[in-house]
Symmetry: C2
Subunit: 369 residues, 2 copies
């Protein structure tokens, strides 16, 4: 008897996971982590108003969420001073990237990204059969000019750029991105992932019109808003592009509690400001811990810090594994030369104390390996 | 300047919504519904233990959910007496159907369903370019023999069958489905949607082995478990098929609060039994209201009742619209001859009192139209 008949594309795909989750690692090591600093979650949590809104919404979970995400889209439109027609809400940036790739990328279509940039974007491109072309980072920064030149060269339909960048924490001024966009080839859409922009200096968000047809910007409640587990992201773009998501999205896919929580979180800008302050302090502390151990923290406009361990990827990986063995969950860049670093998310004082205690032992273990 | 370049398939798709949500209708009419009886949600709500678990989980929403859904998959495996390798958890049955279609259906591939069956399945098939072939209902029942014969005739990769059926509420004995599966053609996967099976008579669930490679069964926390807004569904199938979902699913797509709620809901089988009793009572009441108005309720193994309005689709639609105008949210089948019915979800006593009050006026309005 024949089994199910997969598409040729599906047959060709590996059953990979873009990231191994910390819970999986905890089950493997048989103990919980002491500090969860690997997924750039916000340990400072969401606004208490968001928590309260989610608790209030729990009893109403018997109802499907509003498939139009009306209230959240309108609140976001007010917040950004744009039209609700410029906004699509989805199941995190990951979900929205999947829909976007599906709309644009057929087997063989060219897509450009940086070597070592967000793997989940690559996962979606590969999943729809796209051909990924990569350009190197430049001095630990994504390189808009190189990305757009490569996009022109290969006739890319999409080019991905995160600003600020994950995993390096580096950033460009938004105005510089816009200037670089002059070289964006006709018919190539810039996917500008601004997941971390709320913890970046003023002027990092790209000053582009919401109707600009050359770019779609991705935003999220997973990072500074502290709601990674809620799966709420949104994209800002020209109305025609935004409405195209209605062709493919899971219309009733949004969790109703998450809708309520995101709405409340957006309205608590005081909490956002507090978190921004805590992130800045935690970045300083991570930097100080790194320097105390003879390592070089990279400047960061995100809620994490990449720490240059001073040798190659194998050494950084040994440091990381020794940290994980001590109960400190961190991650690291995948590609050279960025993989000379480990990536440490902003934590509470207790989290960072645990990291400070574990790091010298991890370095010693890596050096003696 | 050229805009973004969509795939030919994406260009061909309409920006449709499988269902208009009740919130959209409330905004259009400028008033909330008195009774929300259109989406087969469970007005009886989730287990109080699930609500409490979700409230407790709200503060931890800063963490991504476990991408393996380990605890829930293992609990479901225990519940069903199968292996966790037979279970994939996803963003509702809608999300899982999307992944399944993506794995199997390339442009032009044949898929079979019943004319008037679940539109969201058709939405996914169309979205991946599949060719949908339909067979008629037989006496308001889905017709397994006709479905499988058609599947053989067109070389279908997938055939969809809901048992119990939505929108008619009719059902087959599970053993009869299994017998009919002898005619399922080689290489055609049966998608057996058992979303409503927890409110059906014993013997409705198909007695197939979890490893049977011919079938994938869909289950959900959206119906009898009262958690539609949480977006938690799961599929049961052979391990190879189940692991194929890892090629395409949004690994971090599950809401963390929803994971906690579903786990608690599964463990409260007493609540499930209470809801089953209330559903049975509400079905009886809907039937009595229908008969009081000279209409014919159809037998139902679901949490809704299809009511035969005794004339054609235009008449039933007029009844429906008059109910909606009075604040009673109901829906109706899309295809003839089933569209002579309206479909009324089980409600609270207050909900059904409101329906009982509105129905005579709605019928009068429809008859005078």
């Amino acid at each position: 008897m024949t089994g199910p008949r997969y598409t040729p594309l599906a047959q060709s795909l590996p059953a990979t996971v873009p990231f191994v989750g910390p819970e999986t690692q905890e089950r493997q090591r048989g103990a919980p982590f002491l500090a969860r600093l690997g997924a750039n979650e916000s340990v400072f949590g969401p606004s208490p108003r968001a928590i309260e809104a989610m608790r209030q919404a729990a009893g109403g979970i018997w109802m499907y969420g509003d498939p139009e995400n009306h209230d959240l889209r309108h609140a976001l439109a007010d917040h950004h001073g744009i039209s609700p027609d410029n906004i699509v809400v989805g199941e995190g940036i990951d979900g929205l990237l999947g829909y976007l790739v599906r709309l644009m990328v057929a087997p063989g279509d060219a897509v450009v990204t940086s070597d070592g940039a967000y793997p989940t974007f690559n996962y979606h491109v590969a999943g729809y059969g796209g051909a990924i072309h990569k350009v190197p980072y430049s001095n630990d920064h994504e390189d808009p000019a190189a990305l757009f030149t490569k996009a022109a060269e290969v006739g890319a339909k999409l080019v991905y750029l995160a600003n600020p960048d994950n995993p390096m924490g580096s950033w460009h001024r938004g105005a510089d991105i816009v200037t670089a966009m002059d070289a964006l080839p006709d018919g190539c859409l810039l996917v500008l992932d601004e997941a971390y922009v709320e913890c970046a200096p003023d002027g990092t968000a790209a000053p582009v019109a919401a109707d600009d047809p050359r770019v779609i910007r991705m935003r999220t409640f997973s990072k500074v808003f502290g709601m990674a587990g809620a799966r709420v992201g949104y994209a800002i773009g020209a109305p025609g592009l935004i409405s195209a998501f209605n062709k493919v999205r899971n219309h009733f896919g949004m969790n109703r509690i998450a809708q309520a929580g995101a709405l409340a979180a957006l309205h608590d800008q005081d909490w956002l400001a507090q978190v921004q302050t805590r992130i800045a302090s935690a970045r300083d502390r991570i930097g100080a811990i790194a320097r105390d151990n003879g390592l070089s923290p990279l400047p960061s406009a995100t809620n994490f810090v990449a720490i240059d361990c001073g040798r190659d990827g194998a050494f950084a990986k040994a440091v990381l594994e020794a940290l994980v063995a001590q109960g400190i969950f961190v991650r690291m860049p995948f590609a050279a030369p960025q993989n000379r670093c480990i990536r440490v998310s902003c934590g509470t004082e207790a989290d960072l104390n645990a990291f400070a205690t574990a790091l010298p032992q991890a370095l010693a273990a890596a050096r003696s390996a």
